[in-house]
């Protein structure tokens, strides 16, 4: 991610007002933002609000993001903060049956680092293969198309750099192959 020229171009474009770049940022990072949202168990309505706030805040902050590598981390912490705000407001308004569940907040906090790494890897995989990735067929079948995809991932410098970082950090529950 650190040296991914495409991400640098996206950040520059989006902060300069380029609508396509902004939309692509949403496409790329929506799974990260969405996954973190679901940790806090808000309603769909609240997830929508959180999402909108996060993207708007992002546009404001893009100019200040010197390193695109900081983008996933920034998105994750901003999403968590916005979720906390919404969930707290809900709890106060009595829209939640029970009070704010501290264990939910704790789990959410500790999940974030791992979530960022996995989401970054997912994003890179999607970007390497191009969208739509769905066209490669169901997972489990090995066809020529799929073999090409795997070869492409193997040759990806960005994915290689990311995986190296992951191995150093030692993700809980991650598979250890090769």
């Amino acid at each position: 991610m650190r040296d991914d020229p495409h991400v640098i171009a996206l950040v520059t474009g989006a902060s300069g007002g380029n609508q396509d770049a902004r939309h692509e940022l949403v496409d790329r990072y929506a799974p990260l933002v969405y996954t973190i949202c679901t940790r806090y168990r808000p309603s769909n309505h609240d997830i929508e609000d959180v999402g909108q706030n996060v993207w708007l805040l992002l546009v404001e902050q893009l100019g200040k993001l010197r390193e695109p590598a900081a983008l996933p981390g920034w998105l994750a912490t901003t999403t968590a903060r916005e979720c906390l705000r919404v969930v707290t407001a809900m709890s106060k308004a009595g829209r939640l049956g029970t009070g704010l569940d501290d264990s939910v907040l704790f789990v959410a906090d500790t999940m974030i680092d791992e979530e960022i790494l996995v989401a970054e890897r997912n994003t890179v995989i999607h970007a390497e293969l191009g969208i739509p990735v769905d066209s490669i067929g169901p997972v489990g079948s090995i066809g020529p198309q799929r073999a090409r995809c795997l070869e492409r991932l193997r040759r990806s410098d960005v994915l290689a750099a990311l995986a190296e970082g992951e191995e150093k950090i030692d993700i809980r529950g991650g598979e250890r192959g090769a």
Binding site: G17, Q19, R22, H23, V26, D27, A30, P31, V33, Y34, T35, N44, D46, I47, E48, D49, G51, Q52, N53, W55, L56, L57, V59, E60, L84, R85, V86, T88, A89, M90, K92, A93, L100, V118, A119, R121, N122, T123, I125, H126, V133, D134, I136, V139, I142, C149, L150, L153, R154, R155, S156, L159, A160, A163, E164, E175, G177, A178
Partner: protein, 151 residues
């Protein structure tokens, strides 16, 4: 190194990437994109810098009594909006004080506008029962938009 990963490990990573994307509802991506339509580059986005609700939670272990008034502060480089919920209305002040106009926006668009008096005070009554945001334009040309507010 990824180069040394076998097919199974790569497929597992690929499957995980596919699943993460499939879990995201289409509407989430669409509202994300349409959020930019709201973004007026002339308006500064004011960030939530204080929320009594979060503060109360943080100090709950230290104090037994709790404040009954919900207070929020939105801050941008040129203007701060201080808000207080009293009953079913929202009282606010733009700081530094100056006159202007306040728009109340919901997802449906601009629902109403209200005057900001010369000492920066305004009221929103009733408080919208859905998420809303405030856009404050002052006589000297300052234009500030808050994040979404849920009371």
């Amino acid at each position: 190194m990824v180069r040394d990963w076998d097919d199974d490990r790569l497929l597992a990573a690929l499957g995980q990437a596919l699943k993460a994307r499939e879990a995201v509802p289409e509407w989430f991506i669409e509202t994300g994109k349409s959020a930019f339509a709201w973004h007026n580059i002339d308006a500064e986005l004011a960030q939530l810098t204080y929320d009594s609700e979060l503060d109360r939670r943080a100090v709950a272990v230290l104090r037994s009594e709790t404040a009954s008034i919900r207070a929020l502060t939105f801050t941008s480089a040129h203007l701060t909006l201080e808000l207080e919920v009293t009953g079913n209305s929202l009282l606010g002040q733009a700081l530094p004080p100056r006159a202007g106009e306040l728009e109340i926006q919901t997802k449906a668009g601009v629902v109403s506008t209200t005057e900001v008096d010369e000492i920066g005070c305004f009221s929103v009554d009733p408080i919208p029962d859905c998420p809303f945001r405030l856009r404050c334009r002052t006589a000297d040309g300052t234009d500030v938009l808050t994040g979404w507010i849920t009371i």
